[in-house]
């Protein structure tokens, strides 16, 4: 397809969307689908037909709308009214009452509960109002399995702008000016990484997207892959043009529900068919194709070198850096590797300019961040907020505070290699540096809220067990260090811990963090160290009084022999 055909197709798609009257958007993210979303989709289509409203209403499958705890969800555009906890029968009543009789089905409105009335205009509710959606701007609004809807909202304009009017250096310049930093967790400046990959000349270069998202309690990347897969492909294509790569891979986590992989596959097929992927894209002579590689269950493959080695079909065992992948990655060639969310932010930066993006967020952490809000919080779900927002605003304004009248105890960010932030730091501004300063880290965006029923010693044991299970086993500090730290933590949780165990833990933790080869080993002691720093008294109560303040640890006795 050449440029003219592409523009014509986009224009036609725009008319079709505008002319379809009310768009009945049914959330088809994995968690909504598995709790009945597919039945709701069918019921809504049947209801629209039987009410004879095909002319003025169209039922559309869309990505995640954010409030997962209230799913399955249905939103009626353009009025923007959202109905929650849908099932086949309620969906029928919504079509009948809202569309036919133009009245609200009050008891099913979003956030309707015994104590509070439903929300008539969700966009003004704090959950949505405090958000700033850049990566998620189309997620939950367009049909992820229909490329035309993506074209209708301006899809691939950024790619065309880059290919037709910008040189690779200018594209990299724009990304550098935007201040975008890696959303995978470490926050390495994206522009700098692109420049390194660009500078290294080679006959082949690769662009790889890290969709491993191994952190438990994190579902941001999955929501983008299920809700707006084309945005990721466009971001990768722009990156490939900038660094001079002709082949791309998306590494998707194996344990995900298969929906994300299926949607990415459809998106790639449709993009190829539309000439926006493959050979001679938009007849600009630029060739770039993308293949999917499915992970097979190893958290360590979220680490960049392990991920690349896994794509090469081998055991995902990290290798020392340098050389960094941008110099020598897949099959020894320069390889640009970024996270799903990073690529999803590229198109708006190119389209509206790096300058615009750098005005969002803080001086050193620019732009927005997508968080997966879960745990002991009223409104769990997917949110995108400007960097610099405080933890209190996220948890209380957006998240609606702690359920069951319990007290907030700590927020856990950065997944198993992240850390815990206690109550006195609720007003910390969420950006890379300040989270690291508190002994945690930004991580990929999992934000788990914990109330006073969670024992921090047991949480440290739980995360250490996770790192022990997921350690690749190559280097001694992580392979044996996590095992010993888990054994010591289990003794403390089991009421058999001694002061000497605590001393050994405090020697092992910095050793494991500084001597381990990769991010998993280096991060494994983070939760232990941050809980020791902020909740040391809980450890001492377990040891001296053989008691668990939160009442979670069974003080029966630690595992006898270790197998």
């Amino acid at each position: 397809m050449n440029v003219a055909e592409w523009e014509a197709r986009a224009a036609a798609a725009r008319e079709r969307m505008a002319a379809s009257g009310t768009r009945v958007c049914v959330c088809s993210g994995a968690s909504c689908m598995v709790s009945g979303g597919d039945a709701v989709l069918e019921a809504t289509e049947k209801a629209v037909k039987s009410a004879g409203l095909e002319g003025s209403a169209r039922v559309v499958k869309v990505g995640c709308m954010g409030t997962c705890s209230q799913g399955p969800l249905v939103r009626l555009d353009p009025d923007g009214v959202v109905y929650q906890k849908m099932d086949a029968s309620k969906a029928g009543r919504v079509i009948d009452k809202h569309l036919k009789n133009k009245a609200l089905l009050r008891e099913s409105l979003l956030f309707a509960g015994p104590a509070e009335p439903g929300v008539e205009r969700p966009s003004e509710h704090p959950f949505y109002a405090r958000q700033l959606q850049v990566v998620l701007e189309h997620c939950g609004r367009i049909n992820p399995e229909d490329i035309d809807e993506y074209l209708a909202v301006g899809g691939y304009r950024a790619l065309y702008k880059a290919l037709s009017s910008m040189s690779p250096e200018e594209v990299i310049g724009e990304v550098k000016m935007s201040g975008l930093r890696g959303r995978g967790g470490a926050g390495f400046p994206t522009g700098l990484k692109w420049e390194t990959a660009y500078r290294h000349v080679a006959d082949h270069k690769y662009v790889v997207c890290n969709g491993d998202e191994g952190d438990p309690g994190a579902f941001m990347d999955r929501a983008v892959m299920e809700g707006d897969p084309q945005r990721i492909l466009e971001g990768m294509a722009i990156a490939a043009y900038a660094v001079g790569a002709d082949r791309g891979f998306i590494y998707v986590r194996g344990e995900f529900p298969p929906l994300a992989i299926r949607r990415l596959g459809i998106a790639i097929e449709q993009a190829r068919a539309a000439g926006l992927l493959g050979r001679n894209i938009l007849e600009t002579g630029f060739n770039f194709d993308i293949e999917i590689r499915i992970g097979a269950g190893a958290y360590v493959c979220g680490e960049e070198t392990a991920l690349l080695i896994s794509i090469e079909g081998r055991r995902g065992v990290p290798r020392p850096r340098p050389p960094f992948p941008a110099e020598s990655g897949l099959w020894g060639k320069p390889t640009l590797l970024n996270n799903v969310e990073t690529y999803a932010g590229v198109a708006p930066i190119i389209e509206r300019g790096g300058e615009w993006y750098s005005t969002i967020g803080t001086a050193k952490s620019m732009g927005t961040k997508v968080f997966a809000l879960a745990g002991a919080i009223n409104r769990t779900g997917l949110i995108e907020v400007p960097m610099g927002i405080t933890l209190r605003e996220i948890i209380y304004d957006i998240g609606g505070g702690i359920p069951g009248g319990r007290r907030f105890k700590a927020a856990q960010t950065g997944g198993p290699v992240g850390g815990c932030i206690p109550e006195q730091y609720l007003d910390v501004r969420v950006d890379y540096e300040s989270l690291v300063g508190l002994g945690s880290m930004m991580g990929s965006g999992g934000l788990i809220v914990m109330d006073d029923t969670t024992c921090m010693v047991n949480l440290a044991r739980y995360f250490m067990e996770f790192c022990m299970d997921e350690s690749c086993g190559k280097c001694v500090p992580c392979r044996v260090g996590t095992r010993q730290m888990h054994l010591l933590l289990s003794r403390i949780c089991g009421g058999e811990g001694t002061e000497r165990d605590l001393a050994l833990l405090e020697e092992l933790a910095p050793y494991c963090r500084e001597a381990s080869l990769c991010g998993l080993g280096q991060g494994a002691p983070n939760t232990l160290m941050s809980t020791l720093r902020h909740f040391r008294d809980e450890y001492l109560v377990h040891i001296r009084e053989k008691r668990c303040p939160a009442g979670e640890c069974a003080m029966a006795g630690a595992p006898a022999g270790v197998r």
């Binding site: 190893a298 055991r315 290798r319 020392p320 340098p322 022990m468 299970d469 997921e470 350690s471 690749c472 086993g473 190559k474 280097c475 001694v476 500090p477 392979r479 044996v480 260090g481 996590t482 095992r483 010993q484 054994l487 050994l504 020697e507 092992l508 050793y511 500084e514 001597a515 381990s516 080869l517 280096q522 022999g561 270790v562 197998r563």
Partner: protein, 236 residues
């Protein structure tokens, strides 16, 4: 190759670009403990014993996988490095079942030498005592997983020098084990050529010649290094 200079403990050391810091230190007579490193085999940076401090970077780096760069400043003997080296050796002793008094490699074991070098008079961590197999099916050799330290020298020599690739690592983390073929008895291996190079390079008593008792070991690791050099394929 171009020569360049780095500073090791504030002493200027000349070396070739492309060399590793470990090679530069060894050439300059600076002693760095190693275990997974083996002259001529690929570097894996797994045991973390040769860690050095690199000025300007908070992280420690393994000398075997860190390449020299102009005016790098390296520290190889700080209090922290000594403490971490001892902990690495203690963790290795705590991981499997290392009973020196009844081991055929007693007196011929690099792990023992490392224990003496780091001054380890005892192991502070609880012994994990996992269940490990011993496979004595092969007529000439035996492999005892109780003594294995997972340095993977055997895997690398078998794949890179002999080309048979009989050995590889199965499982993950603490449960990793060295296996022959599809985790089969060594005698049934369809790839092993009984060349014995893995016996020669094994730093501990995990791979040992059956007909040798304690103190009779004649492991010839230097023979394998010379062979690699002669073949010109291995790294120096």
């Amino acid at each position: 190759m171009a020569a360049l200079e780095i500073f090791v403990n504030d002493r200027k050391v000349a070396c070739e670009s492309g060399a590793t810091v470990l090679q530069a230190c060894r050439a300059a007579g600076v002693n760095l403990p190693t275990l997974c490193h083996f002259k001529g085999l690929s570097e894996v940076g797994a045991c973390r014993l040769c860690l050095v401090e690199l000025e300007g970077s908070p992280r420690l780096a393994a000398a075997c996988t860190l390449h020299v760069a102009p005016n790098q400043r390296i520290r190889t003997d700080t209090e922290r490095l000594r403490r971490y080296r001892r902990m690495t050796v203690e963790l290795l002793f705590s991981e499997r079942n290392h009973v020196c008094s009844v081991c055929s490699a007693n007196g011929d074991c690099e792990l023992q030498e490392l224990g003496y070098a780091v001054g380890m008079d005892h192991v502070r961590f609880p012994f994990l005592n996992p269940i490990c197999n011993l496979d004595a099916s092969k007529s000439e050799f035996a492999i005892d997983h109780n003594r294995c330290v997972l340095c993977t020298r055997c895997v690398r020599v078998c794949a890179e020098v002999e080309g048979a690739h009989n050995w590889d690592v199965q499982g993950r983390g603490f449960l990793s084990r060295i296996v022959s073929d599809l985790n089969q008895p060594w005698a049934e291996s369809t790839t092993c050529t009984t060349c014995g190079k893995c016996i020669d390079v094994c730093p501990v008593g995990a791979l040992w010649p059956k007909h040798k008792a304690q103190g009779q070991f004649e492991k010839r690791p230097e023979f394998v290094s010379e062979l690699i050099a002669k073949r010109g394929r291995g790294r120096p």
